[in-house]
């Protein structure tokens, strides 16, 4: 049978969005998919569809025009998902910090898992970041698939197991898990 748990880490799909960068990091992402660096050997494929992708590569300081589109793309991706910020200006705003049409970095709006520094980022660093993102993806999917306990351990008295009063209250569920 097709086992999603096992194969998600083997073939993660990438969604790439340019939120106002200078193209430098975008062509380095293309270069890291090309034969010399070959990111595709990890099973990664570049797709344009947010609804089928697992890793979100964002470049550029978020401009006011691209901000709503960035968040729209993020919300359309299914869980579990990992966000990778590619480039100095994506992490902090970089050289574009405090310009009038720019938000400083994407972590003002969406949670970021991996930060990659550099202007422009080299393909080696992009590969390193994506491999780190794969580990985080595996961790996140394990957390999602962990069963939630709704009962306490049953108490046994004189050889008789007492199953009364073992249901957990709402507040107690998180303590138990």
């Amino acid at each position: 049978m097709f086992d999603l748990k096992k194969y998600r880490k083997k073939s993660p799909w990438i969604l790439h969005y340019n939120a106002g960068s200078c193209n430098g990091c975008d062509i380095e992402i293309l270069a890291s998919l090309s034969p010399k660096y070959d990111l595709e050997r990890f099973g990664v494929i570049n797709t344009g569809n947010p609804k089928q992708s697992d890793i979100f590569l964002v470049t550029g300081p978020v401009t006011y025009r691209s901000r709503e589109r960035l968040i729209e793309l993020y919300t359309q991706m299914p869980e579990p998902k990992v966000v990778v910020a590619v480039g100095s200006c994506t992490c902090t705003g970089g050289v574009f910090r405090d310009m009038y049409n720019v938000e400083d970095g994407i972590d003002r709006y969406i949670p970021v898992d991996v930060y990659i520094a550099g202007c422009a980022v080299s393909p080696e660093l992009i590969i390193d970041g994506v491999v780190k993102a794969l580990d985080i993806l595996e961790k996140k999917s394990k957390e999602m698939e962990k069963p939630l306990k709704l009962f306490k351990e049953a108490i046994s008295e004189n050889g008789v197991v007492n199953r009364r009063n073992v249901a957990l209250k709402v507040g107690e569920v998180h303590e138990e898990n």
Binding site: N18, N23, G24, I27, A31, S34, T63, R65, V102, A120
Partner: protein
């Protein structure tokens, strides 16, 4: 009842490197009108150049307008400031500037060719050209220390000297690139499945190119012989063997062939630069603050790039205006799309080699 359908392309799409939105109005398969929106990546660099940064740092800031033609941006700004300061830079610095400018043109054209092939559905050619492009990226890294954003040019010269080992490596790699490019030339002219996607598609006539003020490879593919390298004298392009490349058909195939010929010409220029590299310093110190106005034009990989710089004798400039090649070409883009099949739109778009982060700044 309405007979047309509206199809949006963008702002995020698999065939696009950067956000731009086209709204196509289609009747069956044919595109009958186009509406474009290019301002997604506007950051406000022109304003920041006059309020945030001093004039000697702006050369590195304007490089971040566009990563693909970064060198042309910083070179144009630096040439404008050098005009205002009134100094003369050494001949060796000029030659090294030409060398990096042409290396940048080679890698930009190769990226455009591979992207055109990918959007036409020819994935294998995309991988081949991207793999060979690494030869050029390697020598750029050796020469400047970085692969994309070079920060090589400063006011008064260049930042790094070249030594004989680097020069030898450049000659070796360029020879390799030349053999590969001759191979593509054969592929682009004789491959039957590529010809179905490229020949006769997205054609622009000479009259239209003249009327819409087309520039760069787009105009040269239609037979309009404009190239800024032929018209300026800040850098000695004619000394190192510049030759105009034109075609007459004006379709996607002609644009590809023009780009391939320009790569060959650029390789020739690089080899001439290295063989005739003069001795001397790479940097001369220029004193003073920019005062007055200057206009500088350069040929970026996509066409004419214009800088206007106005200073008032202090460290902060009064105005920096950047006119980029793609901005001037948007009317031509919209004109070419009309009457084509919608299925060809991504390939036509990639063959223009649009640079939206240049356009929006």
């Amino acid at each position: 009842m309405k007979k047309t359908i509206n199809i949006p392309l963008g702002s995020q799409h698999i065939s696009l490197l950067e956000p731009v939105r086209f709204k196509f109005e289609c009747e069956n398969e044919k595109i009958i009108s186009v509406d474009s929106d290019v301002g997604f990546v506007h950051r406000g660099i022109e304003r920041a150049c006059t309020t945030k940064f001093k004039f000697d740092a702006i050369g590195y800031v304007v490089a971040r307008v566009c990563g693909l033609c970064a060198i042309t941006h910083s070179l144009s700004y630096t040439a404008a400031v050098e005009k205002l300061l009134g100094g003369e830079i050494t001949k060796k610095a000029k030659y090294l500037r030409i060398l990096l400018l042409e290396l940048d043109r080679i890698h930009s054209h190769m990226l455009c060719l591979s992207h055109t092939c990918e959007n036409a559905g020819f994935e294998a050619m995309f991988m081949r050209i991207m793999g060979d492009r690494e030869l050029v990226m390697e020598i750029q890294e050796l020469l400047t220390g970085n692969r994309v954003q070079f920060d090589y040019i400063n006011i008064g010269g260049v930042n790094r000297d070249i030594n004989s080992e680097v020069a030898k490596k450049i000659i070796e790699n360029l020879y390799e690139v030349k053999q590969r490019v001759l191979g593509y030339m054969d592929e682009f002219t004789n491959n039957w499945s590529l010809s179905l996607k490229f020949k006769g598609i997205g054609a622009l006539s000479l009259d239209d190119a003249y009327m819409f003020n087309a520039i760069g490879p787009l105009a040269r593919a239609s037979g309009l012989n404009i190239d800024v390298r032929n018209e300026i004298d800040y850098l000695p392009f004619n000394e190192v063997g510049f030759a105009m490349q034109t075609q007459s058909e004006g379709d996607i195939n002609a644009r590809n062939i023009v780009r391939l010929h320009e790569i060959l010409n650029s390789i020739l220029m690089c080899e001439n630069v290295l063989s005739g590299l003069p001795e001397g310093a790479i940097f001369t110190k220029l004193k003073g603050k920019p005062n007055g106005e200057a206009i500088v034009r350069f040929e970026a990989p996509r066409g004419e790039l214009m800088y206007y710089v106005k200073g008032n004798g202090s460290a902060m400039l009064e105005r920096v205006r950047i006119k980029t090649p793609t901005f001037a070409s948007i009317p031509v883009f919209s004109h070419i799309f009309v009457g084509e099949n919608y299925a060809d739109a991504p390939a036509i778009l990639a063959s223009f080699d649009p640079c939206l982060s240049c356009t929006a700044k």
